[in-house]
Structure formats: C-alpha cells, structure tokens
C-alpha cells in the first residue's frame, strides 16, 4: 500500500516543465524600453500563488544568473494577462519579477500569457538572453517549485552602434603583399614561362587576411581550368605531387621542396589556417570553389603565399595557356 502510494504520488508532486513557452518582444532594438509578452502552459494541476521570472543571460535554471548587460525590469508593469489570471507584481528589481495572487488551483494545460511594459532591452546587439520561470504555491515565490522552464529572447538591429567596433574583414591580394595589407606590388598576374613536358612551371601569389568578426572568415579559390582555346589542363581534384609530362595544374599554401616554391603562412595567430588539402608540402590541388584558408573565429592578420604548378604532356597543342583565379574572402555564419 505504502509502495503504491509512493509510486503513484511521486510523479504528481515532481516539478514539470511549462509547455508552449514563448517570449514576444515588441521591439528587439538593443537598449530600448518596450513590452514583453511571456506565454506558457501550466502543467501541474496544483494551486499556484506566485510565478517567479528571473532575467539571465543563460536559460539553465541551476546555473548562476548573470543579468544581461543593460537590461532592466525594475520599472515593469503587468498590463495584460490571460488564462490563469489574478496576478499582480509584488517584487521587482533589475532582473527579477515576482507576480503573485491569492492561492488558486490552476487548470492544467491552460495557455496563459502575461504582458509587461516598461522593460528595457539588453544593450548588446545580437546576443540572446533568457527568462527563467518558476511557479510556486507560496505567494512570495519561495518554497518548492511546481513548474519551471525558460524562454529565450534576442536583441537585434541592422543599424551599427557607433560606440562599438564594427566587425570587419580585411583582405588583399597581389603577386606580393604586405603582411597587414598596407601595400602590394600591384601585379595581379603570374607569367610561368614556356610549357615543357620535361619540367614544371611554377608561380606564386600572396594574400593577407584578418577579421575581428566572431564567426571568422573563409577564402575560396574560384576559377576554371588552365586553357588555350579548346585545349585544357585540368586542376588536380586531389592533392598529388608534381608530375612533369602529364597535364596538371594545382596550388597549395605552404613551402615546397619539389619544385622549390612557396612559403608557409606568416602570422603568429593560430586560429587562421590553410585548408588541410592545400597545406601538404609538395602536394597540389585545385578544385573550383574550394576553401583554401579559413578561421573559425577572430583572427589577426595572416599572410598566405599561394604556389602554383603547371605541367604538360608532350602532345599538348601549342597556345597561350591561362586562367584567372578569383579569391573570395567572406565572413562565416
């Protein structure tokens, strides 16, 4: 009998998650004063006397709560309520609200919503924050919680805030460039010389890149095969060594011994790297659109030397063989 009571009674008293939780911010502009509508369904069919709303940068209920920078609910007013009603704000501080009512049984699975005005949005742009919700039987949000859950919000604007350093991506390209892009030799092509089945033609170019954007950057190499009219020398689809006497075009971003060409990336910051396929010494590859270098997050300036090799077969039709490679530097998402 006792066991049966324990088994069947325990789940009813265990805290449950509020369902259908959502937050609607009338304005998502950072730092503005606006209204929030918090909606959720009470799940436990128990008497509720108060609901606690804690505004934190993190939704996890058992984590320490850090107030989102710039946020304030100290002047919040409860202007509308639906579903479970009868609440009024009884406690408020910078990041904390308690709404209370006379103890009353809730109807389980009833959608409820509460609209608060005079809430000041966090000032950080593009940063999410959370409201941690708890219901209690007591009227001052103390004692055991009944239901709990978090809702997520986010400030966002298209207008750059002048006091903040805007994200930027710096990129330069030429046959030779300065480490910090302040100068280039203004040459944007490479002559490789006369094609021969017995030797490998080489060339090099340089590019420098850096970003303060948290998402980092990626550089792709875009272009067609080396061609003269209808005669084509295709890029190597996989990294392979230089093979004189075959039709081969490829590049990499490291120092090579065979043939001797190129340099390793310059720059002490380790975040930015050459892509694995393009960072094997003496192995060359070129696939249109491939990422040749990237950084997963902020990266100080880094300089890459791109080495090109061109091999040809003896029966290659004569002509001026050329291609244009467009290096595209983009942010990451």
């Amino acid at each position: 009998m006792v066991l049966a009571i324990m088994v069947f009674a325990s789940p009813a008293s265990a805290a449950m998650r509020f369902q259908e939780r959502s937050l609607y911010m009338l304005s998502t502009e950072p730092g503005v004063t606006t209204s929030y509508t918090v909606s959720f369904q009470y799940m436990s069919q128990l008497s509720v006397g108060s609901v606690d709303l804690l505004f934190c940068d993190d939704p996890i209920p058992y984590h320490p709560c850090a107030t989102p920078p710039g946020m304030s609910v100290a002047n919040a007013e409860l202007t509308e309520q639906a579903g479970e009603t009868g609440f009024s704000i009884t406690q408020k501080s910078t990041n904390h609200l308690v709404m209370s009512r006379p103890l009353q049984m809730v109807t389980a699975n009833t959608p409820s919503s509460y609209t608060f005005t005079n809430i000041k949005n966090p000032t950080n742009n593009d940063i999410s924050f959370s409201i941690r919700l708890r219901s209690h039987a007591s009227q001052n949000a103390t004692g055991p919680q009944i239901d709990f859950g978090s809702v997520k919000g986010q400030t966002q604007t298209g207008i750059t805030i002048q006091t903040q350093v805007p994200p930027m991506l710096i990129f330069c390209l030429a046959q030779e460039v300065e480490y910090n892009c302040t100068g280039t030799n203004d040459i944007y092509y490479s002559n490789m010389g006369e094609l021969s089945p017995n030797s490998t033609l080489t060339a090099r170019s340089q590019m420098a890149v850096g970003t303060n954007a948290s998402g980092g950057f990626a550089i792709t190499a875009n272009g067609g095969s080396v061609s003269a009219g209808t005669s084509v020398i295709d890029g190597s689809p996989v990294p392979i060594e230089s093979r004189p006497g075959t039709n081969q075009f490829g590049l990499n971003l490291v120092a090579n011994a065979n043939p001797v060409v190129g340099e390793n990336p310059e720059g002490e910051y380790a975040n930015a790297v050459a892509s694995p396929d393009y960072s094997i010494p003496d192995k060359y590859k070129f696939v249109d659109g491939d990422v040749v270098a990237f950084s997963p997050n902020v990266s100080l300036m880094k300089k890459y030397t791109v080495s090109y090799i061109l091999n040809s077969r003896a029966d290659l039709p004569p002509g001026v063989y050329s291609t244009t490679i467009n290096y595209i530097a983009s942010g990451r998402f």
Binding site: G158, Y188, S190
Partner: protein
C-alpha cells in the same frame, strides 16, 4: 608644302597606330584598381513585412596608392558542409533559392574608393506586406577587376552575408544528430581519445524554415564525479541554415584574450588545454532555441567519451600485469600451503 603635310600626317598616323597596338599590351598586364579592401562580413536584420530598412555598408580601400574599383552584385548562398562556410551561387543563371533576399535587397552596382579612404554604400531592404515569416539570406559580392595578363590572372572579392528575419509564426525544427568529444582539426567526433579533447560538439539538423542559433549548456562529468560545465555552447552565435546539418563546437576550457586588430581592441577566443584526467566522461546537453514570439523549444541529449592517454594505457597495462602476477603468485602459495605443493587431484570412485 603638300609633301610636308603628307609627311606630318604619315608620321602622326604611325604614332597613333603604334600607340593603338602598344596600349592593349600594356593594359593587359596592368590593373588600374587596388585589390586591398575592408568590408563588413555579416549583417543581420529583423524585418516587418511591408516596411523597409535602409542601412549603410562601409567599404575601405586599404591600398595607399591605387583607387579601389568594385562591382557589387547580390548572389544567393547555401552551406558548404556542416560548418559555417557559405557556398556562393556565383553563376549568373543560378536558380533563385527559396530563402533568397535578392528580390528584396538593393545595393549600388559599382563603387570607386580613393586610396586610404572609406565609403559608405546604401543597402535597402524592402519586404512586401504579404511575405511569409521566416529567414531570408543572400550575399553581397564586391569584386575588383580581373587581370588579363600572364598564365594565372588574379582577382580579389569580398563578401558580406546578409540575413533578414521576417517576423511571424515560423516553422522551427532542430533535431539532434550527434553529440560528443570533437577534434576541430580533423572535424570528426572521437569516442576514444589518446590526447585530451579540447572541444565538445553537437550536430543539429535544421528542418525548419528559419536559421537557428541555439543557446544552452553542456555538463561534463568524470567517472569519479568531478564535474565541469560549458556555459556558452554557441559562443560565436553560429547559425544552422535552412536544411543544414550543422556542427556547433564549444571549447571545454575557453581562453579569451584582448588583441589589437587594426587599431581596435577585440576579444579573441581560443580553446585551452582542459586539463582532463584519464577516464570516462559522461556528457549532457541542454539546448534552447526559438524566434521572437514563437515557442521556445528545448533539446536535451546525452553522450560520453574516453580519454586514455598512451602513458595511462602503458601504466595501466603494467599495473594489470603486476597485479595478475601477484594474484597468480598468491594463489600458488596458498595452493602449496594447502596441498603441499601439488594441487589436489580429484579421486574417482568406482
């Protein structure tokens, strides 16, 4: 006089013709534009249908001698893999994506910026009143001129990714595909690690019609109870694009440093050595996502990994051999004491 005039015209003709033949050869190898630029890598907007947004994009010519001549065009993009690198759809006849911002986004076709100068170009975003809610995105490509000379011509382009979120009821659906210790260099999950893993990652499949940037926490617990927590599981506010299976990785121990970038202080994050003890680690994941006004959804997951460094495997193996040796030795000693050095034989009864 007539003859003199003819000689002068003939000489002029030679000069003009000579110049005409010489110029293309010169221009083929010379590019008048710089290829050094600074741009905004990403822009995000919240858009109300029927209302427009105007913003400025700042472009800087870093070259100190040559003007920067850029052509601007809007292209669509999608994901390359499970990371955050955009795959640009550069073909002129590339089909428009369902999430394209192209019909709503306008920028000037070209811009010229003098050496060491900046210029702002206007970006206009106008979403019609009947446009459905969701995420829309495209990219602005800034292209410098291409060189015609040599065997390998070079041209440089920069890209700004533009994201717009159209308010309203959206379809949000993230599914957890994988969760565990992660090697960010090989970009692979690893269950048994002989070097201390620096990252924990989770892979989410986005089946909704909006981009998602989940937030939440990961708890890492050693087999003997020591616990540590990753409070920010998406420190770069990375996005899962529509249809993408996106891997989000977070450092077990995050190291932040203030660095100087182009004259401004910037916070740079790197993964530090987490100082893990050998053994099994269990992982738990608690994620939240949801657009403004839509349901906040929660994903929970569990996983684990082994950290077994070679030195530990070696020491453990030696310890097992030593223990096995002493157990055997003790067993034989006991047997010897009990049965006088020979194991007792079972007697058979007839």
């Amino acid at each position: 006089m007539k003859r003199l005039t003819s000689i002068i015209f003939a000489a002029l003709a030679v000069v003009v013709l000579g110049a005409a033949y010489a110029m293309p050869a010169l221009s083929a190898h010379a590019v008048s534009s710089s290829a050094a630029l600074s741009i905004t890598p990403k822009k995000s907007y919240n858009v109300t249908p029927g209302r427009g947004i105007s913003d400025n994009l700042t472009i800087r010519n870093i070259d100190s001698e040559r003007p920067l001549e850029l052509n601007l065009r809007v292209v669509d993009f999608t994901y390359t893999d499970d990371g955050g690198t955009p795959k640009l759809m550069l073909d002129e006849d590339a089909p428009q994506t369902t999430w394209s911002l192209k019909p709503f986004l306008s920028v000037p076709q070209s811009v010229v910026i003098q050496p060491n100068q900046s210029k702002t170009v206007e970006l206009n975003l106008s979403v019609p009143a009947n446009q459905g809610a969701g995420s829309y995105y495209s990219a602005i490509v800034y292209s410098s001129g291409a060189s015609d000379g040599g065997n390998v011509g070079l041209s440089a382009s920069g890209v700004t990714l533009v994201f717009a979120s159209v308010a309203g009821d959206v379809n949000e659906d993230l599914q957890l595909k994988q969760f565990g210790a992660y090697n960010s260099e090989t970009r692979k999950y690893k269950f048994i690690n002989t070097t201390p893993p620096k990252n924990v990652a989770y892979t989410l499949k986005n089946n909704g019609n909006v981009t998602e940037a989940p937030v939440g926490a990961i708890t890492i617990k050693h087999m003997f109870g020591k616990e540590q927590r990753i409070d920010n599981v998406n420190p770069n506010q990375s996005l899962a694009l529509i249809g993408q299976e996106r891997t989000f990785s977070a450092c077990i121990k995050l190291a932040t440093a203030q660095v100087d970038f182009n004259g401004n202080r910037t916070e740079a994050k790197t993964c530090d050595n987490p100082g893990l003890w050998p053994g099994y680690y269990s992982l738990s994941l608690d994620l939240f996502y949801g657009q403004n006004g839509n349901r906040t959804q929660e994903i929970t997951g569990a996983g684990g990994f082994w950290y077994l460094p070679w030195w530990f495997i070696f020491v453990f193996s030696i310890a097992v051999i030593v223990i096995a040796y002493y157990i055997t030795k003790t067993y034989r000693t006991i047997q010897a004491k009990l049965y006088g050095g020979k194991p007792k034989r079972k007697s058979r009864r007839r």
